[in-house]
């Protein structure tokens, strides 16, 4: 174990120690459903802004985008811009109505004036599918990261892949089971501060190398990296749609709006989150360009590939200690995101499916929290198993898929329920089901899965052509989900729901009667 990076181990155990103390403190205040799912609505807008940023800045967006910029150049930057534009959309269309109408999940909003059982069944399915896809991607990422980061002098992995997957699963369960939303929120806040701080220091180190003159840095960046790759325009537009509307359909993000006391704080938290995330993405692509110049793709390729661009740059500029710190932060990032996802999945299982559908809305506080805890364990075990099962699969498309499902199954159903008077139960269910089936189905039939996983061509034969030509289904699945919601609603008019829409408006716009 001579090559083990002790700084990294120290920082990592420091982080785990602090977060466990936090969990112990939060556990004492986590008895009721409102405390478990929504931290007792005690989080301020500023704190929630950081926590939202923490939930959103996954390892994929830190290591992934820095690596993509180092390897492919401008295309990585396009991703980071796309991930950000979802936030203003979320603010203008969703944040305040969601907070005013709901209690714990986005299904609360869709079910507000419609028939709760079918709506909650459909909406919870959309939420759980999104969460499981996203969880699997994070778990595989965690395992790979630990394998690459912790190596001995001979380059052999010190921890095995499954050690990391099981470790992340176990720690995440402790946070969520005992500390609920309060512990999960503070884990996100600490991690967001560490990640933004670490990335800032790294960028200052890069710029110091060039006497704080960005022009000197870009003079050395390979010209090819500064131009977008040639891709079919439809692919670009489709991915853009998924990223833009996916954010406002991600269950673990939407759930955060219930942790603040009212709509005003919800709105403030999006403003802060947008600022932090935007700043972070500007840092991330600077790190990517910096790595391409100061480390070089040859070295990056020989030491674990593009995902290691940021850690290798940290080693180059700050030595083993800074490399260790940044590695520990990257791992803490995955841990925090996994905890947030598990809590969102557990709330859909317990609040929507168990209480809303099976118990028809009648359950004691104790029962609700107990079922949510059982749901957390179930999701934790499932995530570990999926993480191990998918070890050798290319999971890059999983994050794109999670965004496509969120944008197609969750977002249209949610938006229509807030703005459209003639929306009906059948329409909402149709919209969710069409969005979900098309998003998943077209990805399976598309170039990332069909030709590479299902209908793999024999070695010498030309590659199998995908049945659906685009990498991202959003350009078909989002309009189809809206269309299904509208057409089915028009065929199944519901005067009771229309009358309730007028009531609902008082709550949507003025917060009258909001929880």
């Amino acid at each position: 174990m001579a090559g083990l990076n002790w700084v990294s181990v120290l920082f990592f155990f420091g982080f785990v120690g602090v977060t466990l103390v936090l969990t112990y403190w939060a556990a004492k205040k986590t008895k009721t459903a409102k405390e478990f799912y929504a931290a007792g609505r005690s989080i301020t807008g500023f704190q929630n802004g950081l926590a939202l940023a923490g939930d959103y800045m996954s390892a994929a967006s830190f290591l992934g985008i820095a690596g993509m910029v180092a390897a492919k150049g401008y295309d990585g930057l396009i991703y980071s811009v796309g991930f950000l534009v979802g936030w203003p959309i979320c603010m203008f269309l969703i944040a305040e109505p969601l907070r005013n109408l709901g209690k714990f999940t986005f299904a609360d909003v869709v079910a507000y004036r419609l028939n709760p059982r079918p709506i909650r069944t459909a909406a919870a399915s959309g939420a759980i599918v999104t969460v499981i896809i996203y969880l699997t991607a994070q778990m595989v990422g965690a395992g790979k990261l630990v394998e690459m980061l912790f190596r001995d002098q001979n380059g052999h992995a010190i921890f095995k892949y499954w050690h990391a997957v099981v470790g992340v699963g176990a720690l995440m369960m402790v946070y969520v089971l005992f500390g609920g939303m309060k512990a999960t929120t503070w884990v996100q806040i600490i991690k967001a501060v560490l990640l933004i701080g670490g990335a800032t220091v790294l960028v200052i180190m890069i710029l110091a190398k060039f006497h704080f003159n960005p022009s000197a840095l870009f003079a050395q960046v390979d010209g090819k990296l500064l131009k977008p790759l040639e891709k079919p325009p439809l692919d670009r537009i489709s991915l853009g749609l998924a990223l833009m509307f996916g954010t406002a359909g991600l269950p673990h993000i939407l759930m955060r709006f219930y942790t603040v006391p009212d709509a005003k704080e919800a709105r403030k938290s999006v403003f802060f989150a947008t600022g932090w995330i935007g700043y972070f993405y500007i840092l991330t692509f600077t790190i990517g360009f910096g790595a391409s110049v100061l480390v070089g793709m040859k070295t990056i390729g020989a030491n674990g590939g593009p995902n290691m661009a940021a850690p290798l740059l940290a080693k180059e500029l700050g030595g083993d200690a800074f490399f260790g710190f940044l590695s520990a932060v990257a791992f803490a990032t995955i841990l925090a995101v996994v905890a947030g996802l598990a809590l969102a999945g557990a709330s859909a299982l317990s609040h929507d499916l168990y209480v809303g559908v099976i118990k028809k809305g009648v359950a004691t506080e104790k029962e609700q929290v107990m079922v949510a805890r059982i749901g957390t364990i179930a999701l934790g075990v499932l995530a570990v198993l999926l993480g191990i099962r998918f070890e050798d699969k290319n999971v890059a498309y999983l994050v794109g898929l999670a965004f496509a499902v969120a944008a197609s199954a969750n977002f249209p159903a949610l938006l229509l329920s807030v703005v459209w008077k003639k929306y009906t139960t059948a329409g909402a269910v149709a919209s969710t089901v069409v969005g979900l089936v098309l998003a998943v189905g077209l990805i399976v039939l598309g170039p990332d899965v069909w030709g590479k996983v299902i209908a793999v061509a024999p070695k010498d034969a030309p590659p199998t052509a995908p049945i659906f030509p685009l990498e991202n289904p959003a350009i078909v699945s989002i309009p189809a989900a809206f269309l299904a919601g509208i057409v089915v609603s028009l065929f199944t008019p519901d005067p009771v729901a229309q009358a309730k829409f007028e009531d609902e408006k008082l709550r949507t716009y003025a917060g009258l009667g909001a929880d």
């Binding site: 401008y74 930057l77 396009i78 980071s80 811009v81 796309g82 950000l84 534009v85 936030w87 203003p88 959309i89 603010m91 203008f92 269309l93 209690k103 609360d108 507000y112 003159n213 960005p214 022009s215 000197a216 870009f218 003079a219 010209g223 500064l226 131009k227 977008p228 040639e230 891709k231 325009p233 670009r236 537009i237 853009g240 833009m244 006391p261 009212d262 005003k264 709105r267 403030k268 999006v270 403003f271 947008t274 600022g275 935007g278 993405y281 500007i282 692509f285 007028e502 009531d503 609902e504 408006k505 008082l506 709550r507 716009y509 003025a510 917060g511 009258l512 009667g513 929880d515």
Partner: protein, 106 residues
């Protein structure tokens, strides 16, 4: 889940409430359209005018880098515009309505 108070339904016809709904919808739609135009302007430029991105804008920093940072900053400013509008106008209108409804406001 507490139902909205039936006694407040007359507020639906209150000119203040109608004004609030109209103004909130108007600014939400305008800012959403602004976001869409900025982002899709960027995406269409990438899809159809790739060469623009590599041209130098200031020293060796390329136009594409400024464009990317510009879209990010524009998104942040748009959310800022909305928060400013809401803090100055929306909140006061909501408090007035809540007083009319006998809630006394938050």
């Amino acid at each position: 889940m507490s139902e909205p108070h039936r006694g407040n339904l007359q507020l639906l016809d209150d000119p203040d409430f109608k004004d609030l709904v109209a103004r909130k919808n108007s600014i939400s739609i305008k800012l959403t359209i602004a976001t869409l135009i900025i982002y899709y302007g960027f995406i269409f430029l990438i899809a159809f005018k790739r060469d623009v991105f590599a041209s130098k804008a200031a020293g060796n920093v390329t136009f594409g880098v400024f464009l990317g940072i510009g879209v990010i900053i524009a998104c942040f400013l748009l959310t800022g515009i909305y928060v400013r509008w809401a803090n100055r106008n929306y909140d006061a209108m909501v408090v007035r309505l809540q007083e009319k409804a006998g809630h006394g406001g938050p």
